[in-house]
Symmetry: C2
């Protein structure tokens, strides 16, 4: 990595604010990642304090690389919370923000244009610009983590929805017979089966209810069974783990087929912690998807997200590029 041509190039910065750390990326104006780094998320002190920290982190990195602030086109930032149409963070529970205009705050402090998005949306933009969605005309992105986040991109534009609820696939009702409540207060939400938490709950249920005939399951050898153990055991052809993966896949396949009926995307991209299981996960989803989906959706593509934890900073970069018509 070299900055000899520093006078000739311009840079963009992606910032991904998470509950424990803030990830940052320095990009060329062509979208190439030069360097990435992270700083601790200091929740104490509120939003203004965190924006000071981010400003300091950016200025230090620019200084280190002898890049003048005037060579930075702008900053694209993601936050873990709901963002309204004007870019105000309405509520970000993990970092304790309410009605905070983070973009204006950082922009004022650092003297650069700042563009803001919800973090799941930003990760989707990143995958679209530089990951598994590159070159696709439309995509639906799902992050299977503690919960399920989602985003819809048509022709490179995020669809936010009239009330900001587009892509909230985690709360699609896919099981009318469910008796347990989802965190949202409804019953039978996708999140109850196909998030990391959902898979762990499925594992618990199957391990309690389906013991007979499955005493030899590898799952019983773990102290705690998370989505990782389930898919590790699936790879070893463990029959009980496969049953759990089947229900995970059936619920998710159903939800994605429903999604295809609405917007018929070119590709579905699965990211988040659960997606670390790799392509085996897609096999369980696709087999049910093709049965649930209408004719027009049979050939829709599926992929695992390819940028991992860097999706957010790539999305931040793309947000800047988009706003300056560089993308």
């Amino acid at each position: 990595m070299s900055y000899q041509n520093i006078e000739k190039v311009k840079y963009m910065i992606g910032v991904d604010v998470g509950g424990t750390s803030v990830k940052l990326g320095l990009f060329s104006e062509d979208g190439e990642l030069y360097e990435k780094w992270s700083v601790k998320t200091q929740v104490f002190g509120g939003g203004e304090r965190l924006m000071e920290d981010i400003k300091a982190a950016i200025l230090a990195k620019l200084e280190e690389n002898k890049i003048a602030l005037s060579h930075v086109t702008g900053i694209g930032m993601g936050v873990p919370g709901s963002v309204d149409a004007k870019g105000i963070v309405i509520h970000a529970p993990n970092i304790g923000w309410r009605n905070f205009d983070a973009a204006a705050s950082l922009s004022q402090k650092i003297g650069l244009p700042v563009f803001l998005e919800n973090d799941a949306n930003l990760a989707a933009l990143g995958e679209w610009a530089a990951g598994s969605g590159k070159g696709k005309s439309s995509m639906v992105f799902l992050t299977l983590g503690t919960g399920i986040g989602g985003a819809v991109i048509l022709d490179g534009k995020l669809i936010s929805g009239f009330h900001g609820g587009a892509g909230e696939l985690g709360h699609m009702t896919v099981n009318l017979d469910e008796t347990k409540e989802c965190n949202c207060g409804k019953r039978g939400c996708l999140e109850q089966y196909s998030s990391a938490t959902g898979i762990a709950n499925l594992a618990k249920r199957y391990m309690e209810e389906e013991k007979q005939g499955y005493e030899m399951s590898l799952l019983f050898s773990f102290e705690e069974v998370t989505a990782k153990e389930v898919f590790d055991c699936v790879k070893q052809k463990d029959a009980l783990a496969i049953q759990i993966a089947e229900e995970f896949g059936e619920r998710l396949g159903h939800a994605l087929a429903l999604t295809a009926s609405v917007i018929d995307p070119q590709i579905f991209i699965i990211g988040g912690g659960v997606s670390m299981a790799g392509p085996v996960l897609l096999d369980f989803v696709k087999k049910y998807y093709v049965n649930f989906v209408y004719t027009t959706g049979k050939e829709t593509e599926f992929a695992i997200a390819s940028l991992g934890n860097d999706a957010g900073i790539y999305g931040g970069m793309h947000l800047v590029a988009q706003n300056f018509n560089l993308a």
Copy 2:
């Protein structure tokens, strides 16, 4: 209606090709409907013959009103079938077309620009431009007829989907326990409960299975029970008819809540024959919708389509306006 200012104004024409008749509308360039008329759909003779008939119908009307062809900006036409991205009619079973470039055919014959859309999409565009969707930023339009057609409009643009399947809400799987097959070969599709045919089938089932206690139902006094009789009896507080309407509303409310999770529109608009029942129909849908939908979709608006059979010609007008940047 007067055409004195004929030299100063320009016109647009909307054409809605149906299985039994072709509806036509003459519009001002401001989108005002001057006159509408219809001609019989002559299926015999194929697409070229029907395009000749449409040309003749248009020329006669222009002649009658002393409007020169050069004062017509263009024609927007809807056809009852699948249309690909290039505007070719892939298959229109009711009128026997396969791979017919209807727009090129009519355009060549009459010497005007012709724009083509699937008829359900065109009706949606009409409702958006001049009906219940006027002024809305995004809408989902559903036609409840023999089957269920649908369309998604975001910022005035139809979302067609990568494989042309966007808005195919009729085949969303809303009942995992269904044993009967839908026409599409799947089981538990929305169309099996909430189309005109679906409601008639529900009526049949409820009238067979739920006789006890409902012997006095008005429904038993009809020779044939269609959606119309069901909602007529609902208005008279017939308990059995209300049960049928509840299931109709629960299935449709569920499907629309799922739809809201994907694109979160500003408004849902219900059209088609079943919508003739009026606002009472929406009551049954909304009460289930709010229970199924995620927080962000609770305030989404609902309306009955307001243009009736004219939606298609209004949509044709809008298609012309859109293509000439008049809208």
